[in-house]
């Protein structure tokens, strides 16, 4: 193998007293694709941020071509040929592609014409379709990612680090990205990508580093392993996966929720939702698939009453609730687990018990002579903590101190109780580790078994397939089609998510 291109030796990193990385050592060769696999919080991003100079390691050494190096800032990393694409892109939405790419790479007066030409040529070289004059805010996420890659290429990078690069892409876009990774490494460059998706790892990586709880638990060639072994290494135990076989047949065919020709006009004049019609039966899970930002949030908020549609009606059990206020809908039995729990789902500086009270604080059952009946509330919260196995010492624990998965369980517990008839889940498992994901999936299926109706928005196709009875695909605010989940393949759904219409897609496409 010769000398490694880059090598990390005995890296440890502590945040306050929490161990983020402990004694992490691995190397990357020239021309290699290395996958960094692990659950959320396993320390994958942290170790890469150390290599990129964003974080400072507390212990350990870095080497390039066998020589020890110091990387104290991204600037120094870039000078060594390292670029990193963050999970949340670091692009300036209000600026053009050109301005974003040259930021930090120019001095003095800027000759925009020259740079535009340069960037155009570079984009053509890699087969990226990009207009250097476009504003980032107008570009789709997949294209924004190309801008990030181009930014790295512009800096003549030899080691490209990508943090969860496919999380925001359609399956076809992801495939294109993998194509680029192969081209790029064929020229002797190296790529490290951080992921928790086993399938991706198996399709593109040459070697796999498995991380768990801040340590390396495996350094394996792809050819010498399989998905089962990797998942065991990653989680540290076996998981009982929810599969389709665990589900009962849909019990009831009675219609619960109807969305009739709903259109939502945005201030800009572009409709966020266009003529949407969906029905949701009792005891049914309707999955809404699509790349995020295609109207999912708006659809959820129309159902729970946070926004009013410009046109169309929403009915529950045949009753028109289009004009009903949020509180009336809560009373009616509509629960809503929003995608962003920290800003829309809970109040971080309040206790678990208080967060459980949030959407029913006006209810007489919590009151005792005009004051909150603390005793009763705490009892209730304690019961929920047990039922949902929330890891917290008491109902008085402040929400901020909980892990993401446990915070999500608090929101889930509240909304499952609120939603006696309909529960809307918007990305219920985003950013959670596999254990928590599994638990939440079981809760969703349990509620379905009770006859509740579930609207499940997710960008993770595996989640959609694992849970949904029927699947609707949302693209640019329009429904591309509604299917029984058995009728769909990943390829077909990918094309529908990318904007192709049903007639244009056959099942063996892609």
């Amino acid at each position: 193998m010769g000398t490694a291109f880059f090598e990390l030796r005995g890296i440890s990193k502590y945040f306050a007293k929490v161990i983020a990385n402990q004694d992490v050592s691995f190397s990357i060769q020239r021309g290699e694709v290395l996958a960094l696999l692990g659950e959320n919080g396993a320390g994958k991003s942290t170790i890469m941020k150390i290599l990129y100079g964003l974080y400072k390691a507390d212990e350990g050494k870095l080497f390039k071509d066998g020589k020890e190096i110091k990387i104290d800032s991204p600037k120094e990393a870039m000078e060594l040929g390292i670029s990193m694409i963050q999970q949340h892109f670091s692009l300036v939405p209000a600026h053009t592609v050109t301005e974003n790419i040259i930021l930090g790479n120019v001095q003095g007066v800027i000759d925009y014409k020259l740079f535009r030409e340069e960037i155009k040529k570079l984009a053509e070289l890699y087969g990226f379709e990009l207009n250097p004059n476009d504003y980032i805010r107008d570009l789709a996420v997949g294209v924004q990612q190309k801008v990030e890659i181009l930014k790295a290429l512009y800096q003549k990078t030899n080691l490209l680090i990508m943090d969860e690069p496919t999380a925001v892409l359609t399956p076809q876009e992801a495939e294109n990205l993998m194509g680029f990774v192969r081209d790029f490494t064929a020229q002797g460059n190296s790529v490290i990508f951080i992921t928790h998706k086993l399938k991706e790892v198996m399709s593109v990586a040459d070697r796999i580093i498995v991380m768990r709880a801040g340590r390396v638990y495996g350094d394996i060639k792809r050819a010498e392993t399989n998905e089962l072994e990797l998942s065991k290494l990653m989680i540290g135990r076996d998981l009982n996966w929810v599969t389709k076989d665990d589900r009962q047949e849909s019990l009831d065919q009675e219609v619960r929720l109807e969305i009739k020709q709903v259109t939502l006009q945005e201030k800009t004049g572009v409709p966020a939702l266009k003529d949407i019609s969906l029905t949701l039966h009792k005891g049914e899970i309707l999955g809404i698939a699509g790349v995020s930002g295609n109207g999912q949030r708006e659809l959820c908020e129309i159902v729970c009453g946070a926004i009013l549609p410009t046109k169309g009606r929403v009915l529950v059990d045949g009753e028109d609730i289009t004009e009903r206020k949020i509180r009336a809908r809560i009373d009616l039995g509509i629960g809503y687990v929003p995608a962003d729990r920290s800003s829309d789902g809970m109040i971080m500086d309040m206790s678990i018990a208080e967060n459980m009270l949030l959407k029913s604080s006006y209810d007489k059952k919590w009151q005792k002579r005009g004051f909150i009946d603390k005793k009763k509330l705490n009892q209730y919260a304690l019961q929920e903590i047990r039922d949902y196995s929330i890891k917290a010492p008491s109902p008085e624990t402040i929400a901020r101190g909980l892990s993401g998965g446990n915070q999500q369980k608090v929101v889930l517990a509240r909304e499952v109780d609120n939603g006696e008839k309909v529960i809307v889940f918007d990305q219920p498992t985003r950013g959670l580790d596999l254990g928590a994901v599994n638990h939440i999936h079981q809760v969703i299926l349990k509620e379905r078994a009770k006859g509740k109706s579930v609207l499940l928005v997710s960008t993770e196709l595996s989640e959609i397939f694992a849970l949904s009875d029927r699947i609707a695909i949302l693209y640019k605010g329009e429904i591309q089609g509604v299917f029984n989940s058995a009728e769909l393949t990943t390829e077909k759904i990918g094309l529908l998510m990318a904007g192709f219409r049903e007639g244009e897609v056959s099942n063996d496409a892609g």
Binding site: L54, Y55, K56, S73, P74, K75, E76, M78, M84, Q86, H88, S90, L91, V92, P93, A94, H95, E99, N100, I102, L103, G104, N105, V106, Q107, G108, V109, I110
Partner: protein, 304 residues
């Protein structure tokens, strides 16, 4: 009429100094809410420096230094200690009011007649000032006005055509992008706040030694806030700031004109004095589209 327009340009000069300073700093995400205090400190230091040394140049240098000091205090608290920009600014503004009147008394006691210096003289520019109409309006002004003629287009060029400008604009929109590009966000922000302090100090001194020739604690009277508002109204763009400044300068010129002619039979004088402030409110609520820097007022905290 010529007098009015000429006064518009003159009274607009310090406002534009302040507004440009504010535009540049706010583009990095820093609302310089201490601008009123910076103006006042500049007015005080300009007067003290000018009076004691007998030289207006020393006065203006003192004003720049004073503005720099106030700005560095503000910048340190808001940028490095990550405190709230509005709260910090208000606190500093109150502090400066007390400090100025205290220090004025410590140095000069309580004089029976107000102390004065000779304010900046107008410098007619040969030939240009003889152009009919435009000449006396534009080219019979004091040195600071001529400086701002250069500074305004220069700041536009700097913001939109240079790498420094790109960094400044990016810092206010997405500081992480700047950080990842290997540029120190906090330093960028701090330096622009310091620049705002220097420019604001000059603007303040314009009122004391550039125009009135004396100092009182209410000499600024909210003009720092007007410069602040002009930045908003001008959509964070030097071009917009120039237009906004002309409008406010005109309003102020009318107020001064009416005061000096004593022609208050039709309208009470106070109305004209209040005019710039009323305009601020009306224009602020009537504007429809803003292109606010996305991270304006948000401290940059690295997640390390």
């Amino acid at each position: 009429m010529i007098y009015l327009l000429s006064a518009t340009i003159m009274m607009g000069t310090p406002l534009l100094f302040g507004a440009l300073a504010e535009v540049i700093a706010e583009r990095t995400g820093m609302m310089v809410t201490a601008i009123e205090g910076i103006f006042l400190m500049g007015a005080w230091a300009g007067f003290v420096g000018g009076y004691l040394s007998g030289s207006l140049i020393v006065g203006f240098l003192a004003a720049m230094l004073a503005g720099l000091l106030v700005a560095s205090l503000y910048g340190w608290i808001c940028i490095y200690l990550k405190q709230h920009q509005v709260v910090t600014g208000v606190a500093i503004n109150l502090l400066v009011v007390g400090l100025c009147s205290f220090l004025y008394r410590v140095i000069f006691g309580v004089p029976i007649t107000p102390l004065t210096v000779n304010p900046l003289a107008t410098i007619p520019i040969p030939l240009l000032s003889e152009i009919p109409l435009l000449g006396p309006i534009l080219f019979n002004q004091n040195i600071l006005t001529y400086i701002i003629y250069v500074l305004a287009p220069l700041s536009y060029f700097m913001l939109y055509k240079t790498s420094i400008g790109l960094t400044i604009r990016s810092a206010g929109e997405n500081p992480e992008a700047v950080d990842v590009a290997g540029i120190n966000v906090l330093r960028v922000r701090f330096l622009t706040v310091l620049l705002a302090g220097v420019m604001g100090g000059v603007a303040g001194a314009f009122y004391s030694i550039g125009f009135l020739g004396m100092f009182t604690t209410n000499i600024i009277g909210g003009r720092g806030w007007i410069a602040f508002a002009i930045c908003f109204l001008g959509n964070w763009n030097p071009k917009g700031a120039v237009i906004g400044t002309l409008a406010f300068g005109f309003a102020e010129a009318i107020a001064i004109y009416m005061q000096s002619t004593g022609n208050s039979a039709l309208f009470p004088n106070e109305l004209f004095i209040a005019l710039p402030y009323i305009m601020t409110i009306v224009l602020t609520i009537s504007r429809k589209s803003f292109s606010v820097p996305a991270k304006l007022g948000v401290p940059y905290v690295k997640e390390n």
